[in-house]
């Protein structure tokens, strides 16, 4: 089979697999992020429950994906939702960890100022704590996204498509080309999504929170102007 022929045979399958893969990643990262943010808020508001949630999640985290999907499969069957549940749970942890520490590290002076202005807990959360923790939350989302691109390969294990299909088939038939056909787009997807997230973050970060470079110079300049 020539390469040309090979591509012709698989092009459509590959395209579909990429879309399915991407769909899983985006969906599961989104679900995981929402759950993670809710948990992070709970953890920072009611520190006592962190003694319970954190260990549970880190144990879940250590179960190999393959085992986890396998077990879940027994209960929820050979359906996309098995994949979605499993991957979403995996997506939670990196975001949660970063969001939690991000919120925890918001300088108390901002909380004091927020409370002094008469903000309620929710107002403080949405207008001060989340925005200030955003860089850290983004690190978590980025990490999760990149992990999930590779974990989604497992979807194919229970016949739910994605780039894993090529990899499993390639391993099964000992065909390196098929393996590469799954692996290369997956790698590119991870790089692409990472770059995309960096762009989004840059766009969302207000000028006042961008890291030093010119902004410190600017403020030094202002300081020198001084006041009479």
């Amino acid at each position: 089979m020539t390469l040309q022929h090979f591509m012709d045979t698989y092009a459509l399958d590959l395209l579909r697999a990429i879309f399915v893969h991407l769909g899983y990643v985006i969906l599961c990262v989104s679900i995981g992020t929402v759950i993670a943010l809710v948990l992070a808020v709970l953890l920072t508001r009611i520190p006592k429950i962190s003694r319970f949630i954190m260990p549970v999640l880190s144990v879940l985290q250590t179960i190999p994906g393959i085992v986890f999907i396998g077990i879940l499969f027994l209960y929820t069957g050979m359906r996309p939702r098995t994949v979605i549940i499993a991957l979403s749970i995996y997506a939670i942890f990196p975001v949660l960890k970063n969001a939690y520490s991000g919120i925890l590290h918001v300088d108390d002076k901002y909380r004091e100022a927020a409370r002094g202005c008469g903000m309620s807990q929710w107002q403080m959360l949405f207008s001060v704590e989340f925005p200030l923790a955003m860089p850290s939350i983004f690190v978590g989302i980025r990490m999760t996204t990149i992990y999930l691109v590779s974990w989604t390969v497992l979807a194919a294990m229970i016949g739910q498509g994605g780039l894993g299909e090529f990899i499993y088939r390639g391993v099964g038939t000992n065909d390196n080309r098929l393996i590469l056909m799954g692996a290369i787009p997956a790698a590119l997807m991870a790089i692409g999504l990472g770059a995309l997230l960096d762009k989004i973050q840059k766009k969302l970060t207000p000028r006042g929170m961008r890291e030093p470079e010119q902004s410190t110079q600017q403020s030094q300049l202002n300081a020198q102007e001084g006041e009479i």
Binding site: D107, G118, M119, S120, P206, G208, T216, S219, E227, I228
Partner: protein
């Protein structure tokens, strides 16, 4: 009116505020001062319920603060902290209008308010409104911190060592500004400091705290003249740096740095507008490099001004004028002899440095008086 009644607060069984009784009148500038850890911050923060009290009560205009929702209470009490705490994710305008936003003012009204507020501290709306806190100097940041507290026109403003982190020159000019604002807007201000100079300069009444109790509450002059306790005397000795005699003081020691100036090319109408904005009846005329040219007074504009003309022909040069290095006494003598509102202070190369007013004089006299005692 604010009334503290037997207010007590303990932390883990250790009392830190031991029954405070204090009545503060509307429009009064009260300074809480005392050694570190004596309970100033705690006393202040119980008023806006950032710290719950154990027993006693605090009434604002006869109504107990315990009967009010903490959030709603705080929106009616401005609060300025030492660490400034401007929200870095918000622009200057957004920071200033945080409380109005919570009070659901519409956008137009918030913008108007932001403009008004920035004008109060001579910051240009177009230049500063859309900057972020990290693009401002420390002094500018704390000005915005003060404006944020004033935004929803609270009758009461609390300040906890607001200028402690600023350099001395900036601090000095912010002190002038805050005193000026407080008087113009008739706010009740409770201000915590451990700097006796600051207290003397700003306070209508100084409340000296020690170990969770009030040792003395008196006007600056009275506290200087007859400190009620050795601790107070010692504290003042340690903290009042300018206890030289009157004749050791120079004009630059006692002058106000912040003065309303105008350039000679400005037209009469702009000049009148600036005067009404700053609530003054004369402006100091300086050219672009701050060389002192004279003053322009509202009477002259009224009598001889022509709309649309520059103020150049109206500049007066017969105002009393001293140099920075001259004795303060000289400025005082001029003030008294010439019945002037102020004396202009210039540097040796004739640049404007500041002005000496009657209030600078009384402040200096107060410290001199205490220096003798």
């Amino acid at each position: 009116m604010i009334e503290y009644r037997d207010v007590v607060k303990s932390y883990g069984g250790k009392p830190v505020v031991k029954g405070i009784n204090l009545t503060i009148q509307e429009g009064e500038f009260v300074i809480l001062i005392g050694p570190s850890g004596c309970g100033k911050t705690t006393t202040l923060k119980m008023l806006n319920r950032l710290i719950p009290m154990d027993s006693g009560d605090i009434l604002i205009n006869g109504k107990s603060i315990k009967e009010q929702e903490p959030e709603l209470l705080r929106r009616n009490i401005g609060y300025v902290i030492q660490q400034i705490g401007l929200f870095p994710n918000m622009t200057v305008e957004q920071n200033i209008t945080v409380v109005p936003r919570m009070l659901k003012w519409d956008k137009e009204r918030r913008r108007e308010r932001a403009k008004e507020l920035l004008a109060l501290v001579d910051m240009d709306y177009d230049t500063y409104a859309h900057k972020y806190p990290n693009e401002l100097s420390g002094g500018q940041q704390q000005r915005i911190g003060v404006l944020r507290a004033l935004a929803a026109e609270p009758p009461i403003v609390l300040m906890d060592e607001p200028f402690g982190a600023l350099d001395p020159i900036t601090r000095d000019s912010l002190q002038d500004e805050i005193k000026d604002l407080q008087k113009r807007l008739n706010k009740t201000v409770i201000f915590v400091t451990h700097d006796m100079n600051e207290a003397i300069k700003l306070a209508d009444r100084i409340v000296f705290m020690c170990d969770g109790k009030i040792l003395q509450a008196a006007s600056p002059e009275e506290m200087l003249r007859s400190p009620a306790d050795d601790i107070i005397r010692e504290f003042m000795g340690k903290h009042v740096q300018r206890v030289h005699m009157e004749d050791e003081l120079t004009c630059s020691d006692i002058m106000r740095h912040r003065v309303a100036t105008i350039s000679p090319q400005r037209r009469t109408l702009e000049c009148v507008e600036l005067m009404s904005q700053r609530e003054v009846n004369s402006l100091i005329v300086v050219d672009d490099d701050r060389t002192y040219l004279g003053i322009v007074a509202i009477e002259d504009i009224k009598d001889r001004g022509v709309a649309g003309e520059t103020i150049c022909p109206l500049i007066r040069t017969d105002v009393p004028c001293v140099e920075t290095g001259q004795h303060a006494k000289e400025a005082f003598r001029l003030l008294m002899d010439m019945k002037a509102d102020y004396v202009v202070v210039v540097t040796p190369d004739k640049k404007l440095a500041g002005i000496v007013t009657k209030s600078s004089m009384s402040k200096a006299m107060a410290s001199a008086l205490w220096g003798e005692g």
